[in-house]
Symmetry: C2
Amino acid sequence: MAKLTARSEDYSKWYNELVVQADLAENSGVRGCMVIKPYGYAIWEKMKEELDRKFKETGHQNAYFPLFVPKSLFEAEEKNAEGFAKECAVVTHYRLKTDPNNPQKLIVDPDAKLEEELIVRPTSEAIIWSTYKNWVQSYRDLPILINQWANVVRWEMRTRLFLRTTEFLWQEGHTAHATSAEAVEETEKMIHVYANFVQNFMAVPVIKGLKTDSEKFAGAEETYCIEAMMQDGKALQAGTSHFLAQNFAKAFDVKFTNKEGKIEYAWATSWGVSTRLMGALIMAHSDDKGLVLPPLLAPIQVVIVPIFRNEEQLAEIDNVVFDIKAKLESKGISVKYDNDDQNKPGWKFAEYELKGVPIRLAIGPKDLENKSVEVARRDNLTKEVQPLENLDTYIDELLKTIQTDIYTKAKDFQQDNITKVDTYEEFKKVLQEKGGFISAHWDGTPEEEEKIKQDTKATIRCIPLENPLEDGVSLISGKKSIQRVIFAKSY
Amino acid sequence: MAKLTARSEDYSKWYNELVVQADLAENSGVRGCMVIKPYGYAIWEKMKEELDRKFKETGHQNAYFPLFVPKSLFEAEEKNAEGFAKECAVVTHYRLKTDPNNPQKLIVDPDAKLEEELIVRPTSEAIIWSTYKNWVQSYRDLPILINQWANVVRWEMRTRLFLRTTEFLWQEGHTAHATSAEAVEETEKMIHVYANFVQNFMAVPVIKGLKTDSEKFAGAEETYCIEAMMQDGKALQAGTSHFLAQNFAKAFDVKFTNKEGKIEYAWATSWGVSTRLMGALIMAHSDDKGLVLPPLLAPIQVVIVPIFRNEEQLAEIDNVVFDIKAKLESKGISVKYDNDDQNKPGWKFAEYELKGVPIRLAIGPKDLENKSVEVARRDNLTKEVQPLENLDTYIDELLKTIQTDIYTKAKDFQQDNITKVDTYEEFKKVLQEKGGFISAHWDGTPEEEEKIKQDTKATIRCIPLENPLEDGVSLISGKKSIQRVIFAKSY
Ligand SMILES: [Zn+2]
Ligand SMILES: [Zn+2]
């Protein structure tokens, strides 16, 4: 394998190389669409599994709605339609035929033109709320708490593996409620579910907050988000939860009779995370040797590499390792024993470092004599010798320690790179020299927000939910402000 | 809820009503596309989970490939392209814009026409083999054993919920091998995996066989299939596994250096099952009262209904039921306690019969006195009183018995409805009067096959794998034949 470009040299190049070399994903023959390779997909599956468990725990059920949205439904909620119109893949025909000029080739059959074009869903509010219309008559039919795992398509001009692709995989929750308060509660509940997952499983600290009106979801009244900091100091929006008020209910005429016998429109939320989380996971922890995976999401948690000169030595090592492997697996730890004799141990060490396997055990003839094993941690690259006795307990604990340590390291980095500034001069200086997140006062207007974006490319990532009130003056207009918001350049 | 049409009256109407009334799926606002509702999706999730486990057990990994196939890739394997060209949804544009004549509406932006059209995948051989080209250089890169869970689109003119929909969910395995023998072995292995799943989990007996050339997959050398019998005697193809030989490797130039240093094309298989299995599950077991679900796929295995006159009685029953529920759940049994006081017990009984919950427990004041409970089986509608003592063990065993009994009943029905015939007269008479599968001699020509299809609408479902050799003469041409094949009308 080729050596990765160093992060310090070219962070963006490092990322692109890492995704491909670690077998996570690659570009496909379809513009802007990726192939998620088995190792990358195995990590995504672990994310899905845990998120799905959390959704069900909070009372949601999965369902499935059509890939296509007829144009008339798509355009029903005006703001949502406007927000996505410029990036829609459109199906216009339903048949191909043999090219009369070239019988080896196919052409679109002009006789098979659709009366109404179909939009490949960029998000499913429209198709889902047109369905909910028939499900809701009375307050007894509410709430509807549904999630969908699906692919969506947004025609992106500049794409990057996992971070921004034309097609991506995601889950989208779509709930309907009898009251505004209940819908707001749901919106907030789900942003907390996301924050817990990203922090506890992905080991990525986040800031929970509200989007400003210019950054919120098209069709939402409020967008809650979690913002994560990458190692280059840029922000990555890792999940969003939208309070949609009655916008979609009005667009699709979803009404119900409330407890008092009055007819009302239903209240909506939607919330989603996507394969973008893979990008966050990679960029938050990995280093110049490759991936660093938190144990809770690692497809292989422990790899065992035998060090041997001949068949006899390997046979002896095999014996001991089968026992170690069985014990670890009985504790629910996933283990790979790589006793392939084509590749040298050094090659294997580099390979599993690239793949981010949290713990590597190396065992040779001397270890057999000493009844010990070399234990190497991927996260901090330390090594130590451990007795074989009670190794399973030791590894089990070590995996927990690594999970915590990876989070702590990322949390320290985040804290060190949130800078409070009070003047626009300072803002620009910090952004250019140090980067990271900037905590500053803002006057609440889209004008000041836009001016800062034009000048510096930094946007307001969020108004943090857990925000201390603090009097101040805004960066440009100098108007009074009662709280700081988070600015950053972002992915 | 409305009463279901009886199967004897109108089988097809019964099916359509059942799917909707049992909350499994419904038609959507998109032509030919369905909404899979939470209860239906929960059954599909159980199928997925078990199939996924079996795929991984047999060495496969999941991955994900793009939804879109550029036309030039789509047409590369000629037979495959020909087979699907007439039912392709085609994306031709990537943007909408505001209608200048009606600013509330959107129109397709003619400036955003794609240079090359994109086909929404009807199956993924083309996109996957164009990817494998870059993954395979040496025999050491083989085999590739990949599965994908995905949605696919085939533009169907006549659609029916689960059985035939324009968009459906499925899994598609796509493997690449160094030798023909290994690919054939894989093809056969997977048809056995499917047969085991359908028989042991869905409790639906199947016949494993080979498709005739006129019925095989477009682009395959051989198609293996499993054929299930529905209660109306018609056949439903429940899964297929294709030996693709080197057809796709040649179309996409996937070559490798073999152990002897020679360059060869890789050998391929593909195999899939879809949400069509839901149709098979429903039609194989259900009755005029609703669904009958085998316990291994039932989202709710046991429902408990309290019989009470007042709050005090309900409180006493609650106490006992919480204990029963905990004990059953500790055995891994999924239990719903429906102590809602809006609906009467009779309503609940009918509701859970409609939903196919395998076991219903009813418990009232008299049962409390006697320390007993009424146990009702959904499959055969029998009831009995059981002591509360050791109820969990009893229920656990009963679920296994029900699973077996449902299979046995379906197997008996299948056996009773496979008829051997030796003349074409008899063939037509049996098909018309009794229906079911017909086991008969065939001369091996597409001409005789086609003639029978034209005359009777029955097709050759398969040439059974476990087929005794038997000399005979074919139905129409009177030519010699060495084995019988299975004819039937089919879904
Ligand atoms: Zn706002
Ligand atoms: Zn053949």
